[in-house]
């Protein structure tokens, strides 16, 4: 649910990067954080284990000013991907305005993609969020690795709603910006509608 403050002229939106463990959610928002101008970003928070797996969430606030005098602030979150953190994933979806589903393109990780998508749908249902109505983008990550599934296969199995989707190599920044721009465009359009 976006929050608009007419006194301070601020619009706040929450975007969540969702996907199976090690699919590259944190890599996506780290890349964004590293390439954004310092004046447009707040502090990045990473709550990770010793092995750098996300334990609870990662958080990056990004601000864009001078939109007819309004400042838009995107709060980017990632969820922990590992199966055991189901409860955390649900908590982080609270009040979400847009979702990026980061899929792992490797064949051996496809079951994890499907399980995580089911988990996301279940959590959204619990919050009474209609998947047909929420801004949603798919990203097929790790396209540079061997043994990846075709985009057609990933699209058919995951992107059942015909939403915009992108191929990516998040470690090199390929497709990261395109994904981010598309989800923010959808979120802003939804606010306006």
């Amino acid at each position: 649910m976006p929050f608009i403050n007419f006194a301070t002229k601020e619009i706040n939106c929450k975007i969540v990067y969702y996907g199976p463990g090690l699919s590259g959610k944190t890599t996506n928002i780290k890349w964004i954080y590293d390439h954004i101008k310092p004046e447009n970003k707040g502090e990045m928070i990473t709550l990770a284990t010793e092995t750098e797996r996300t334990l609870f969430f990662d958080f990056v606030p990004i601000e864009v000013s001078n939109v007819r005098g309004f400042k838009v602030r995107f709060h980017l979150y990632t969820t922990p991907g590992q199966i055991i953190y189901q409860a955390s994933r649900k908590l982080i979806l609270k009040g979400v305005d847009g979702i990026v589903f980061v899929a792992d393109s490797q064949e051996e990780r496809h079951d994890a993609n499907l399980d995580t998508l089911d988990d996301m749908l279940e959590n959204l249902k619990d919050y009474e969020i209609n998947i047909e109505e929420i801004p949603l983008v798919f990203q097929y990550n790790k396209r540079d690795l061997p043994n990846v599934l075709s985009v057609e296969k990933l699209r058919a199995d995951l992107n059942r709603w015909g939403r915009p989707d992108f191929e990516a190599i998040a470690t090199k920044g390929v497709g990261v910006l395109e994904t981010f721009k598309e989800i923010t465009r959808q979120v802003l359009k939804k606010i306006k509608s």
Binding site: F3, A7, I45, F59, P61, V67, R68, V72, A87, I92
Partner: protein, 157 residues
């Protein structure tokens, strides 16, 4: 969609500032459970990043609520975190918002903070309900906001 009009923002800020001053806190923040900062007292004494603080606070409350449920679905109503020099007291309002008071332990204490929050709690709850009701009745975003002319390319180096 929750929105805050200038006059509502003023009322909230005034209430939070009064609460802050009376309880001798460093700052009082009002956050929603999804991690957005709704309002804060007019307090120069606090230098941390409000937005980041709001996000972590919501995460902290969410985790504690989940813990509470694991212990038998007991409702969480308030939390207290203590550092060497500061106390952070959080209380839930209308099950949707989190009121946070950060105070220097040499200047104030948990008892004073709780008594003062009790004094303002009902009024704060009432203001928030009025804001929600007004926001619900407004079906679409006002024309003064044109978010679609945003240029994301200017964000990046």
């Amino acid at each position: 969609m929750l929105s805050l009009r200038p006059e509502e923002n003023e009322r909230l800020k005034e209430l939070l500032t009064n609460l802050n001053n009376e309880s001798k806190a460093k700052i009082v923040l009002l956050i929603d459970k999804s991690g957005q900062l709704i309002s804060r007292s007019d307090s120069p004494a606090f230098s941390s990043d409000d937005v980041t603080f709001a996000s972590l606070t919501a995460g902290n409350v969410a985790a504690s609520e989940a813990l509470s449920k694991l212990l038998g679905d007991k409702n969480l109503s308030h939390m207290f975190t203590e550092t060497e020099e500061e106390g952070i007291y959080m209380i839930l309002i209308a099950d949707k918002y989190i009121l946070v008071s950060i105070f220097d332990k040499k200047v104030s204490n948990l008892g004073i903070v709780r008594v003062k929050i009790k004094k303002y709690y009902s009024e704060l709850e009432r203001i928030l309900r009025e804001i929600e009701k007004r926001a619900e009745e407004e079906s679409s975003i006002p024309t003064e906001i044109d978010v679609e002319d945003i240029d994301l390319d200017t964000l990046f180096e």
